[in-house]
Amino acid sequence: MSIILQMRRIVMISVLALSAVSLLLMLLGISPLTIGITLAKGSIFSWLKFNHVLSVWIPLLLCSCGLLFTFRAGLWNIGVEGQVICGAIGATLVLRLDNTGLPPAALLSLALFSSFLAGGLWGASAGLLKTRGGVNEIFGGLGLNFVAQGAVLWLILGPWKRAGMASMSGTDLFPRELWMWVPQGWRVAPAAIVLVIIIFLLTSLILNASQFGLKIKAAGFNPQASRLFGIRPNLICFMAMIIGGGLAGLAGGVQVSCVYHRLIPSISSGYGYLALLVVMLAGYKVAPVPIICLLFACLAAGSIQLPITLQVDSSLSGVIQGALVLSGLLVYGLQQGKRRGH
């Protein structure tokens, strides 16, 4: 698809969405401009706030990378939330181990690895439900989300609860040495940033420039024909689910080890669902994902300013995100309609 068309599309989408939201705001007597400025101020105009943006960007991008795999395989992986939670549980499991004698760095890496594993397993189980149990992956994933939620609640109120307490506030804080290292004046761990960038590069390499990626694509586009090329669509889908779940799980690991330093019920922070919107808006392509993630992260982080400075509810940023995706779908639809010629 030509760059010009790309550009036209991007412009159309943003104009459509933003004008819709602005109209709504003006009807409510709020100045869209002030909102825009506040959101910008609250996200990118100060180092600390940008740190906050990054702390959203990292897990969001991880989840989105995972989704890129599953979408390529033609799967609707709705289970991301649950996979994030399981990843978080996996990481906590390791970080709660005491007297392992391992150096913190090793323990942290182990935690991240186990979060990938846990998420992957959760993704795999959704895959199994689909391939073996014949449960539509949407509802399998959805159900597993609730199961994962149940598991984390049980852990927090049961085996892992704080001494003498039963509170949704979450588990005890991890000892400080198990917090991922953050330099003076920073609020996010550089290690996490590096990690997510590497993951993204790997994702684009695998999906756009590898035999495996091509096989995923083939299996997703046309399972029946892919068999003529000696591909086993079910197996490929299964692997895609594992990778997708693993990356989501990694996001959970990051949330635990870098952001909250403990396990909380809403550890997934809704990034699983937000990532779905990101990838949809990206038209299931790899390249735009990190930028859209950044945009969404800015909206999420900046939205805090709305109630503080304008007494406007933060959910506005969610409205903007939703409007963007919806107008994205609308524009795609219209353009395809044109190409079909009616």
Binding site: T38, V56, R262, I308
Partner: protein, 372 residues
């Protein structure tokens, strides 16, 4: 109102765990904060509500403190025990900013830096009155307590309510303690988080469906009162006693026996005042009601506002009860008292120390419901 610190010399930040208009815990803080701007000229409140991971995913207390400080806040109030870790963390990163953590005890336990103080009101008394009115009004002798999460604070308050109820039941109504059912049902957090906590509406409903006719709310929001109001409309003779906020009864006046509430104005005035005038010192404030007039918003940190539906007899009984609590002639935390598991809490004639009350390890004998 986007330019902070400009006209005001002493901006302070308020982090509220719930919505600023929850008719409960957070609203009480919010209105006290607003009052500060009048009481202490030069102060200016910067607030943010719904500070909890469910309502503001991915946002942590330290992040918000960073932001408030960047807006010029010189003192930060965090109003939930849920913020314990975050407040301590933030206090460490901002040594030159003063922090007030409500309901925490980092000062006592020595975990806090010098710039972090704790503030709380002695709600035990409020809860005792709540329990008293409940037991006085109950027809079935079954009192339900809608508990939030389980920790020392909630155990302490629930126990206090029970003691008040048992006193009314045995001493005033002259009934057998064994006939008084006092059941606690914990939802898991200070307010409803769909899919995470139990649904307080459901819990209250099931209380009432099982014959409990007075529901004492221990959570930040007013579901108990709302449901009780509904059930009254359906002709059931039930009441509720909300919590935290002086105006809580307005949600369903007919079903409201009264509300034990916090009034944060005195505490705020004292601590912020000191901080402004450079007399800040790390404190652990656990403020009494002003027994001369517990509903005096200037002076009393804890109050009990009787509801319209409270019968005259009960009103009088309550007055005497308050009086005897006031002159110290009555201390309900006096032995013999046993814990839920039957072990001895206080031997005969022994009265509990503040520390014993603050760190109550279990519910008391005679109460139903989980202790940890």
């Amino acid at each position: 109102s986007s330019s902070f610190g400009a006209e005001s010399t002493y901006p302070f930040g308020l982090l509220m765990v719930g919505p600023a208009n929850d008719h409960g815990w957070s609203q009480a803080h919010f209105e006290a904060g607003q009052e500060m701007e009048k009481v202490l000229p030069g102060t200016k409140m910067i607030y943010i509500d719904k500070v909890n991971p469910a309502d503001r995913p991915g946002i942590t207390v330290p992040m918000l403190v960073d932001d408030l400080v960047s807006k010029g806040a010189k003192l930060i109030i965090g109003n939930s025990d849920d913020m314990k870790d975050g407040m301590r963390e933030a206090a460490m990163t901002h040594p030159d900013i003063k922090f007030i953590h409500i309901s925490g005890d980092d000062v006592v336990t020595g975990k806090a830096g010098v710039n972090l103080s704790n503030l709380m009101g002695r709600m035990e008394y409020g809860k005792m009155m709540a329990g008293f009115t409940a037991a006085m009004s109950s027809k079935t002798g079954k009192i339900g307590y809608l508990g939030p999460l389980i920790n020392a604070e909630t155990r302490r308050l629930t126990a206090a309510a029970y003691l008040g109820a048992r006193y009314a039941w045995t001493k005033i109504r002259k009934k057998d303690a064994a006939d008084l059912k006092f059941k606690v049902s914990w939802i898991g957090f200070w307010f409803n988080i769909p899919g995470v906590t139990s649904d307080p509406t459901l819990v209250t409903n099931s209380f009432i469906n099982s014959g409990y006719d007075v529901i004492i709310s221990g959570i930040d929001t007013t579901e108990a009162l709302v449901v009780a109001g509904q059930k009254r409309k359906e002709g059931k003779n039930v009441w509720a006693i909300p919590y935290d906020y002086v105006g809580a009864c307005t949600t369903a006046p007919k079903a409201c026996l009264g509300v034990p509430y916090f009034n944060w104005i005195p505490g705020y005035t004292q601590m912020i005042g000191n901080a402004m005038s450079g007399k800040w010192k790390q404190e652990f404030l656990w403020l009494d009601p002003d027994w001369k007039s517990i509903n005096n918003m200037k002076t009393s940190s804890v109050g009990f506002k009787a509801g319209d539906s409270l019968g005259e007899k009960v009103k009088e009984g309550l007055a005497d009860f308050q009086a005897s609590l006031a002159d110290g002639s009555l201390n309900l935390f006096t032995g013999p008292l046993n814990f839920q598991d039957g072990t001895v809490f206080l031997k005969d004639k022994i009265t509990a120390t503040d520390d014993q009350i603050w760190n109550l390890p279990q519910l008391l004998e005679g109460m139903e419901g989980a202790s940890k």
